[in-house]
């Protein structure tokens, strides 16, 4: 075992996005000493990418009749369950819809500066799947506002920050998580942490796909660490494809075009000029009658939300993604293989005020002026609904001492997440994870770390270093992306998924022989070997679950099982855990929803 730096904390928070930092604030308020590990610099997490807003049913907006929109947690609950195709954990959704409201007010108390209504309240915008205007926002940079707010608050509350540290494994004692081993990217040297509880807030994973809005960090380290420590994972087949990623130019492929564009009146058209979202075949039964049925009605909704129904572009993300996929498949795509998204009818002044960073992004990077021309878009891998299975009350994972919040945790969003719900998720469950971890840590003492586990983690990490002649992690990564993109993305079927499974397993074997030339100091090729291990682990699990769920629900679209099977698959989640070193997929019945919550679906 190589000697290394060592730190002791009450609570170790892994990941410094919104969920991790909100957990820090909660743990500090509970009096804990908190260490924070982040893979990048502080404040660079994926939270900054969120554009549209943070969903919470404040009910601030006034309708055309002068009345406030009758929004409330009950409607947010109903919308979130419907959007998730009822695979969500109802208790998580109930907690979420309730507490999101206070978490948003609290952000304002911490210093967040939201856009305002004429009456001086926080302004809310409409978004796909939300019945009322519910996304509290700051232009199209709400995520930046949110992370900077909780970052400043956490810095003020006091924490020990370890930037650019990647964790290699969680350390356990008698089946309880008691610490972690990581390495400094800057020096390549190892570091260990002892803690009474560990909160994973490491975000999602999308880098195993070629079209993704995820940064290099989205490799699934957190979910892999938890899985390897024995935690159960849930709904791992549910990967969200955001309907509107940039498709052109090639360097920008996958980069997000906020749903706010459609919320502000953006129109989707195919290469024939058809506004294809009006085609009846794209309207799911669940939503029939709730959306505008003509272009005039959709246009009227922009100024009068009460009298007119919303445009079908604002259907949930899974629905819009599939429609775009089918249009392109049917030969109605644009030259670069996407469809057109046009918001130019709103006028230059409005667009620059409401969507400033979208205007900038297309202007600077795509040579497109969105105030006069349409954007070209195609679905991009965006978000992971599935993740570590947690207790709704405490965010505890199924391994003692381990907690998880935010995108790395599963259960809240079911088969599909509504836009804006991720930012309220990280606030609600980030806080609960911090509280849960603090409660678990109370009265406990730090455990001794097992030198054998540390030595093993170090050995695994160092294996490819300095080797020449082996395979390059970059080349293997490209092969993985190609396989997952072709076979496990938006449209799935058994034959393709089996090809993907074989390929992923082949790549896992080949990854044993990876080589990373160079030294230990800030060596991205070496870091990539570790990221690839996480991606391969997660990819196998995604494909296994996608194969198992023989129905189409939410983000899981099986073209060989196109129907939604409410009586069968609709009654159960898929849960994965590690058995004899291999992922085992088991069915787990959905918890029964109490009658008083079922009744909400009649009323809201």
């Amino acid at each position: 075992m190589e000697p290394c730096e060592a730190f002791d904390y009450d609570i170790l928070v892994v990941g410094a996005g919104g969920a991790g930092l909100r957990a820090v604030i909660a743990a500090r308020e509970a009096g804990c000493r908190v260490g924070v590990v982040c893979k990048s610099l502080l404040g660079k997490a994926h939270t900054v990418m969120a554009e549209g807003g943070v969903a919470a049913a404040l009910g601030n907006m006034v309708s055309s009749d002068g009345e406030l929109e009758p929004d409330g947690w009950e409607t947010h609950f109903v919308d979130t369950m419907k959007g998730g195709a009822f695979l969500n954990n109802w208790r998580m959704v109930e907690i979420f819809a309730h507490e999101a409201i206070d978490r948003v007010f609290e952000l304002e108390q911490y210093g967040a500066v939201f856009d305002r209504t004429p009456e001086g309240r926080i302004a809310q915008r409409p978004f796909g799947g939300h019945k009322y205007r519910r996304l509290n926002h700051v232009g199209d940079r709400t995520g930046l506002e949110l992370i900077r707010t909780v970052q400043d608050k956490a810095v003020g509350a006091g924490m020990d920050v370890h930037m650019e540290v990647t964790l290699v494994r969680l350390l356990t004692a008698g089946g309880v998580v008691v610490g972690a081993l990581g390495y400094h990217r800057e020096t390549g040297r190892f570091v260990t942490f002892r803690a009474k509880a560990v909160v994973l807030a490491t975000g999602g994973w999308g880098r195993m796909f070629r079209f993704t809005s995820n940064s290099w960090e989205g490799t699934g380290d957190g979910v892999t660490l938890a899985y390897e420590a024995g935690a159960e994972l849930i709904d791992m087949e549910m990967m969200q494809f955001h309907p509107t990623g940039m498709i052109w130019p090639p360097g920008m492929r996958g980069i997000l075009v906020t749903e706010g564009v459609r919320g502000e009146g953006g129109i989707l058209r195919n290469s024939r000029g058809e506004r294809f979202m009006f085609k009846p075949e794209y309207m799911p039964e669940l939503y029939r009658g709730q959306f505008a049925e003509s272009e005039q009605e959709a246009a009227g909704w922009l100024d009068d939300k009460k009298r007119f129904r919303r445009p079908p572009e604002l259907l949930p993300r899974d629905v819009v993604s599939r429609a775009i996929y089918r249009e392109v498949k049917a030969g109605n795509g644009c030259e670069h293989g996407g469809v057109f998204l046009d918001v130019s009818q709103r006028g230059a002044e409005y667009i620059k005020a409401k969507l400033p960073s979208m205007y900038d992004q297309f202007h600077a990077l795509g040579d497109v002026d969105i105030t006069v021309e349409p954007m070209e878009v195609y679905p991009t891998v965006h978000y992971t609904m599935g993740g570590i299975r947690v207790d709704p009350e405490t965010a505890a994972a199924t391994v003692p001492g381990l907690f998880a919040a935010g995108e790395v945790a599963g259960g809240l969003h079911g088969a599909n997440r509504l836009g804006g719900n991720s930012l309220s998720d990280i606030l609600v469950f980030g806080r609960r994870a911090g509280d849960g971890a603090a409660a678990w840590a109370a009265g406990k003492s730090l455990a001794e770390l097992d030198p054998a586990q540390i030595a093993d983690g170090q050995e695994q990490m160092l294996k490819p270093l300095g080797k020449s002649g082996g395979e390059s992690p970059y080349a293997l990564h490209a092969e993985l992306q190609e396989t997952m993109q072709q076979n496990a993305m938006i449209a799935r079927e058994e034959a393709g998924l089996k090809i993907a499974l074989d390929k992923v397993r082949e790549l896992q074997k080949r990854a044993e022989g990876l080589a990373a030339p160079g030294g230990r100091e800030y060596n991205p090729g070496w870091h990539a070997t570790r990221d690839l291990v996480s991606m391969l682990t997660v990819s196998e699990i995604i494909v296994l679950c996608a194969l198992e769920r023989k129905e189409s629900r939410g983000a899981q679209w099986r073209i060989d099982f196109p129907e939604r099977d409410d009586a069968g698959w609709g009654t159960k989640n898929l849960v994965v855990h590690r058995r004899d070193g291999q992922p085992a997929v088991v069915e787990s019945p959905l918890p029964a929803m109490p009658e008083h919550l079922k009744a909400l679906f009649q009323e809201h």
Binding site: L41, K44, V48, R116, V155, G158, M159, P250, G251
Partner: protein
């Protein structure tokens, strides 16, 4: 043009030289794409920070032909001759290749007290008009790329990190100082440890800001004026001296307490 030559600074701890790489060009390519191409095809050890690749996170700051900029937002077709030199930010301690140690910025930031809303006005939700918040929203657009810190003469030429917090933190303080609900008096911190007077208004920071924040005009100059009004008004000084004007009892001043947060750096060791 079918390919470009990138001259990339390679080396560690400030010692190194430019190495040439041929990179095929694709439409709309940015410099970060070219760096990624080199990593994947030529040399996987080329060190470079990046995250969002959409100019939203501020990780990939570097100097392109000597000009501080985001690698993800700098198009290669800006340089039709096809020669692009890419180096690390020069103001911060060099780590390796394009990566520098920017942790100082986080340590300074930890010394700025967060918002303290007036409890007498009640807790959130606040009643605020759009006009009240727009001024502050400009400063809160900052993505912490630290390009303004990199280009600031006080920090770059004079290395006065001991005396001046730099434009980024001036933005942070301005966002708090001008927040309609904040009650802390931040003038003393601005005047003393933050060193607002060190800025000599060359506006270099404003020029490089990828978020187009008017750092000098909207953040630094108004705060300089507040500090000057408070510390250097000659008439008020005389009136105070002869006892006509009493020094206003200050609300609790900001910034004297030790920061609660520690930013750790890895122990330095030879590779």
């Amino acid at each position: 043009m079918e390919s470009i030559t990138l001259h990339v600074f390679r080396g560690a701890h400030g010692v190194g030289s430019l190495t040439d790489y041929e990179v095929p060009v694709t439409p709309g390519m940015v410099v970060l794409d070219a760096i990624h191409y080199i990593q994947a095809h030529t040399d996987g050890t080329l060190a470079c920070r990046w995250n969002c690749k959409a100019a939203k996170c501020g990780s990939c700051s570097a100097e392109i032909n000597g000009v501080p900029g985001l690698l993800c937002k700098t198009r290669v077709d800006l340089f039709p001759e096809g020669d692009i030199a890419v180096g690390p930010m020069r103001t911060f301690p060099h780590v390796r290749d394009l990566v520098t140690d920017v942790s100082w910025n986080y340590r300074v930031n930890a010394r700025i007290p967060p918002l303290r809303p007036d409890p007498a006005r009640g807790g959130a939700p606040f009643d605020l008009q759009q006009e009240d918040v727009e001024r502050v929203q400009e400063f809160r657009k900052c993505i912490e790329c630290f390009l303004c810190q990199d280009v600031c003469h006080v920090l770059r030429e004079h290395q006065r990190t001991d005396a001046f917090f730099g434009p980024r933190q001036m933005c942070r303080i301005a966002g708090l100082e001008m927040h309609p609900m904040d009650t802390l008096d931040r003038r003393q911190q601005l005047h003393n440890e933050a060193g607002v007077a060190y800025c000599n208004i060359t506006k270099c920071c404003t020029e490089v800001c990828p978020e187009h924040i008017h750092i000098t005009d909207n953040a630094i100059i108004p705060m300089k004026e507040r500090v000057v009004d408070s510390y250097f008004d000659p008439v008020a000084g005389i009136l105070r001296k002869i006892g006509v004007l009493q020094r206003q009892p200050r609300q609790k001043a900001a910034g004297d307490a030790a920061p609660a947060t520690t930013i750790h750096s890895p122990p330095k060791s030879a590779d």
